[in-house]
């Protein structure tokens, strides 16, 4: 089986892992958003749409103001606003959260195409000049470590941000008062309510945070990786992030492991020229992994008890 030895050979190269890290972070940010949202009890499958919206607005803002940081800010606000819609629909109006999520994904796809057409006409959006893209930055000293240095410390700044966010979310969710409250609201909103917590405020906050993180991921994709906007460029990443979240049993570190695995799959596919196997087969790899994983390879994973159930104060 030469294909397998090819892949094994690839797996020991730092280059592959460096690419995998970027792919992983593109999944990790929305996955962390999903973890936060669902831990508070709001099912969120709208990361795809929030990310796509973020991607468009990042490019638009960057072309306007020539600053990647303003672009990141605008992208996060755009993602946050999409999330706000999801929050209002599913928390305030207690609509079905899956339906709301799907609607947002479709809406985002339509909205971005519409904006591209009206703002830029039929030609493409144009490229962000490299100088105005999100920069890569080698961490002094650490980047010199063999292998690890290249994989972790010679990366785009968003990768560093994502790793910091990962640690933060892990700490906040499981070590702090805020995290305890978020989880309480997701497990048993009525108990949280009777304990004097404001279920609605906590859920709004969690859903909007998921939008901010997805918007950031969109910005990274558009002005850190591709340097342009193409309709539907997120290409299902929001959904794979969802799978990563479930794979990771609704924990940040679990989601991170899942994102690395998916990221590796993608990186191997990107390297297909060195592997003697049909590239079409390879292109299925990340999705195949997702299916196998969801089919129960990781064992049963239980979501937060009140995940997806709207809360109405005063009814049992």
């Amino acid at each position: 089986m030469s294909a397998i030895t090819d892949i094994l050979q690839l797996l020991v190269t730092a280059n592959l892992w460096q690419v995998a890290m970027v792919s992983a972070v593109l999944l990790l940010l929305p996955a962390l958003g999903g973890v936060i949202s669902e831990r508070s009890g709001v099912v969120n499958i709208a990361m795809e749409g929030m990310m796509l919206t973020g991607a468009f607005f990042a490019v638009w803002a960057d072309l306007n103001w020539h600053s990647p940081w303003i672009a990141v800010l605008v992208a996060m606000i755009a993602g946050g606003l999409m999330a706000l819609i999801h929050a209002v629909v599913s928390i305030r109006f207690r609509a079905d959260q899956i339906v709301s999520g799907i609607a947002i994904n479709i809406f985002a796809a339509g909205l971005t195409v519409y904006l591209v057409r009206t703002i830029y006409g039929l030609q493409d959006v144009g490229h962000v000049v490299p100088a105005e893209a999100l920069p890569t930055w080698d961490v002094p000293l650490l980047s010199a470590i063999p292998f690890i240095g290249k994989v972790v410390f010679q990366q785009n700044v968003v990768v560093y941000i994502a790793l910091i966010v990962l640690v933060l979310v892990e700490i906040v969710l499981f070590r702090t008062r805020l995290g305890l409250r978020i989880r309480a609201v997701g497990e048993h909103p009525q108990a949280a309510d009777t304990a004097g917590l404001n279920v609605y405020v906590i859920r709004y906050g969690a859903v909007i945070t998921s939008g901010l993180l997805s918007g950031l991921a969109g910005a990274f994709l558009a002005i850190g990786v591709s340097n342009t906007f193409v309709p539907n460029m997120t290409d299902g990443r929001g959904y794979i992030a969802l799978a990563a979240m479930i794979f990771g049993k609704w924990t940040p570190r679990g989601a991170f492991v899942a994102c690395i695995i998916f990221g590796l799959g993608e990186a191997i596919y990107a390297n297909n020229s060195t592997i003697h196997v049909s590239q079409y087969l390879l292109s299925m790899l990340p999705y195949l992994i997702t299916l196998v994983v969801l089919a129960g390879l990781v064992g049963r994973s239980t979501p937060p008890a009140a995940d997806g159930i709207p809360y109405a104060a005063g009814s049992e």
Binding site: V172, R175, T176, R177, L178, G179, L180, R181, R183, A184, E187, H188, Q190, A191, A192, D193, T194, A195, G196, L197, N198, A305, A313, G314, S315, E316
Partner: protein, 515 residues
């Protein structure tokens, strides 16, 4: 008639009205609770007790009426306001998060923190230990809430309320799930709390408890207050009559049983508990047509597991169960039902009902494939189902505006009645009744008891588990005492309570050599 001034009143609710679709749950209700008293609130299922207390706790907003706390008018936007006014509530259905630790459950909403926002485990532990020591309510703050037996969960609920510094405690049917011993322990705590200056509102259907613990009593009926009583000057009969509107038979009237052939044979059955430890260690007994076999035992000695194994919802690890001459050991719940075994489970909200389903839908759960309710097991006969549900509602006096109401919106006791009605309505060969009257009012207890006896006289074999020793003694034709997963003795129903108590705690000598 009373000379109390407003400031002596911890709670004063005036003209409280709250309507739900199709029902006025509270109709101009007045409630006065004096500072430092234990005030009992009693009334039939669906009388509006929980609704009134949820209004006092800010969970439900009244349509009209006013509330004064310690003499001052207040407006409650939510539980937060109630908590800050010093009101705490233990709900009829526990408000606990099973996957959280006991400590986290108690602290929630008022967590100790270090640094910016870090949850402080050691201070939490210390606060709980202080409280539990002060009130003699031992609890392990690090245990997982879901692993605790209900008695301890109940205790955690009370500690939770105390931790928030409540001075007015609302206890909505706190003794519903407690054994008599646990109830006595709770009463010791309540008396201590009153000594420490707290005011307590206590809801219960057990009038004996009400007479024992309360100072004054408010009686509700169909959303209205129908009487204010002083405990010293009243009796069980008077309260019962006020509550139900007629005299209630407080004991069971039944003729001697005429046992027929053996229908259910349980042979050396063993099984594990949810936590994987052996809960049944070789249980053997026979159940005859037309008799009621009651199981007495302290909760947690395998009664629940025994019922579940027979009902087919828990796998046995050994032994045989025979229905007639059919071996049903490995039957699942559905096959058991088809074979004629009906089951009233003890956890009404978890396993007895689908809370979001209507009463009509719940009334045929498990029988939806029968030819009475479906064409060829495929299409539901909606008209037949609705007729059936209406019949049950009428017969069992389920208090609801219509059969389309979701089970969730019924009062606790009426939820229980739906299950009892469904299971008894299926004309079973064997009726497994676990805590059949938990949470129902005395009128309904009387009715359910009469129906169980009627089932027996019609030839059904009844296996009864109840935490109420009185219930077991008055209903059963024979009593099996369970202790640590075994039946230690089979006794006659007139066995003195002391002897049963001794057997239940592992003492005494068996009479019939464990069947």
């Amino acid at each position: 008639m009373s000379t109390t001034t407003a400031t002596d009143l911890a709670v004063q609710m005036r003209g409280i009205t709250k309507a739900f679709p199709g029902v006025v749950a509270n109709d101009h209700v007045d409630l006065e609770v004096r500072a430092g008293e234990i005030h009992a609130l009693v009334g039939e299922n669906g009388a509006g007790k929980s609704t009134l207390m949820n209004i006092l706790y800010g969970l439900i907003h009244p349509d009209s009426g006013e509330i004064h706390i310690n003499g001052k008018p207040v407006h409650m936007a939510g539980p937060r306001d109630a908590i800050s006014l010093g009101i705490g509530m233990v709900h009829q259905h526990f408000m606990l998060i099973p996957v959280f630790s006991v400590g986290e459950n108690i602290m929630l909403g008022r967590e100790p923190v270090t640094g910016t926002d870090f949850y402080d485990h050691s201070r939490a532990r210390k606060a709980i230990n202080d409280l539990t020591k002060r009130y003699g309510l031992a609890l392990d703050p690090d245990a997982r809430m879901g692993d605790l037996p209900v008695g301890l969960q109940q205790r955690a609920e009370i500690v939770k309320v105390l931790y928030r510094g409540a001075r007015i405690l609302i206890l909505d049917e706190p003794t519903g799930v407690l054994t008599p011993q646990q109830t006595n322990e709770l009463f010791v705590v309540l008396r201590d709390l009153v000594k420490a200056g707290k005011t307590i509102i206590f809801i219960s259907h057990k009038l004996r408890e009400v007479l024992e613990i309360s100072d004054r009593i408010t009686v509700m009926r169909r959303g209205k207050v129908v009487g204010h009583l002083t405990t010293r000057d009243t009796s069980e009969e008077e309260i019962a009559t006020l509550m139900v509107g007629r005299a209630v038979l407080l004991r069971v009237d039944k003729k001697p049983a005429k046992p027929g052939a053996v229908v259910l044979k349980v042979e050396d059955v063993s099984a594990n508990s949810d936590r994987g430890v052996p809960a049944l260690k070789g249980v053997t007994f026979e159940l005859r047509q037309g008799e009621i076999l009651g199981i007495a035992g302290v909760e947690g000695n395998g009664q629940s597991e025994l019922m579940e194994v027979i009902a087919g919802t828990r796998r046995s690890t050994g032994g045989h169960i025979l229905l007639g001459d059919r071996d049903i050991t490995t039957y699942d719940a559905r096959t058991e039902r088809d074979a004629g075994v009906a089951f009233i489970p003890e956890d009404r909200r978890g396993t007895g009902l689908v809370l979001s389903f209507s009463i009509a839908e719940n009334s045929i759960l498990g029988r939806e494939r029968s030819l009475t309710f479906s064409w060829h097991e495929l299409v539901l006969k909606l008209v037949a189902i609705r007729d059936w549900a209406r019949k049950l509602v009428k017969e069992f006096d389920i208090r609801t505006p219509s059969i389309d109401v979701a089970a969730r919106n019924l009062s606790g006791g009426n939820q229980q009645k739906v299950i009892v009605a469904r299971e008894m309505g299926s004309k079973p060969k064997v009726l497994l009744a676990a805590q059949p009257t938990r949470g129902v009012d005395i009128g309904a207890i009387e009715f359910i008891h009469r129906r169980i006896v009627q089932e027996r006289d019609g030839g059904t074999a009844v296996l009864l588990v109840s935490a109420e020793l009185d219930e077991v003694r008055s209903l059963s034709d024979r009593i099996a005492v369970m202790y640590e997963g075994k039946i230690v003795s089979i006794e006659s129903p007139d066995t003195p309570e002391e002897r049963l108590g001794l057997l239940m705690t592992g003492g005494g000598k068996a009479r019939e050599g464990a069947a």
